[in-house]
Symmetry: C2
Subunit: 112 residues, 2 copies
DNA sequence: CTCGTACATTCCTTGACAGGAATATAACTG
DNA sequence: CAGTTATATTCCTGTCAAGGAATGTACGAG
């Protein structure tokens, strides 16, 4: 269930910012730290989390570590999202009615 | 930035389980607690988080509170995911090469 | 009005995580 | 080799979220 690592990694706004930044191209740790307004150690730690979640790859270049986005794990998110995507395609009102087939009492009557 | 609330809500595995459960239809708090192996207070609290993230709606029926999934906020996730989706559409190998202007060492993935 | 059911909320404790400072490590430079 | 750059790691601290136990609250039945 490395799924958990993925969600945890993306749950942090700074890490989402890093990932978004890497969308524009590879960056060294220092660049990432600066562009995201993070301290170097903080950037380093966030990148570690992203690496362990498989979202980022690193390539060493002299003393620098160039980080590259690996969007592959996000396919899992996409897959997770799939069943829900169908739902917001249908009207939400219709959704409520359609799902309301429970052995419970009926009569929707939302106060909305 | 209620985006944060959404990510935070879905970052928890129990809450994802609840959401997945509600995919099958509305449930009372008690049912959710039981089917997810949660205590009643725990379920109640998780549902509160989901409600505040807009992922779940509640309809009161006698003493019971029937919770219904509202997938609408997930569209934000979908939108967030969009730029990345393109990337894994291209071959990941190609991506790697495209971003990789200078072939070098690849990290051997410390552990998993 | 009293009781029972279904939930919500509070209080408390614990564990995970983030950020900063300082330090360690690795790689290039001369 | 010493020094510098770029990054990783450790230690410490504060914060915040989760879980459990106990209690509060709303609703309906009788």
């Amino acid at each position: 269930m490395s799924d958990a690592a993925l969600w945890a990694a993306l749950a942090d706004a700074h890490r989402r910012a890093i990932v978004a930044l890497l969308l524009a191209g590879p960056r060294t740790v220092g660049e990432i730290a600066e562009e995201c307004g993070l301290s170097q150690p903080s950037a380093s730690k966030h990148l570690k989390v992203l690496r362990e979640a498989g979202l980022v790859r690193v390539r060493q270049q002299a003393q620098r570590r160039v980080h590259t986005l690996d969007p592959a794990p996000m396919a899992a998110l996409d897959a997770w999202l799939a069943p829900y995507r169908k739902l917001w395609g249908e009207s939400l009102d219709a959704l409520g009615r359609r799902l309301d087939e429970q052995p419970d009492t009926t009569e929707p009557t939302p106060k909305d």
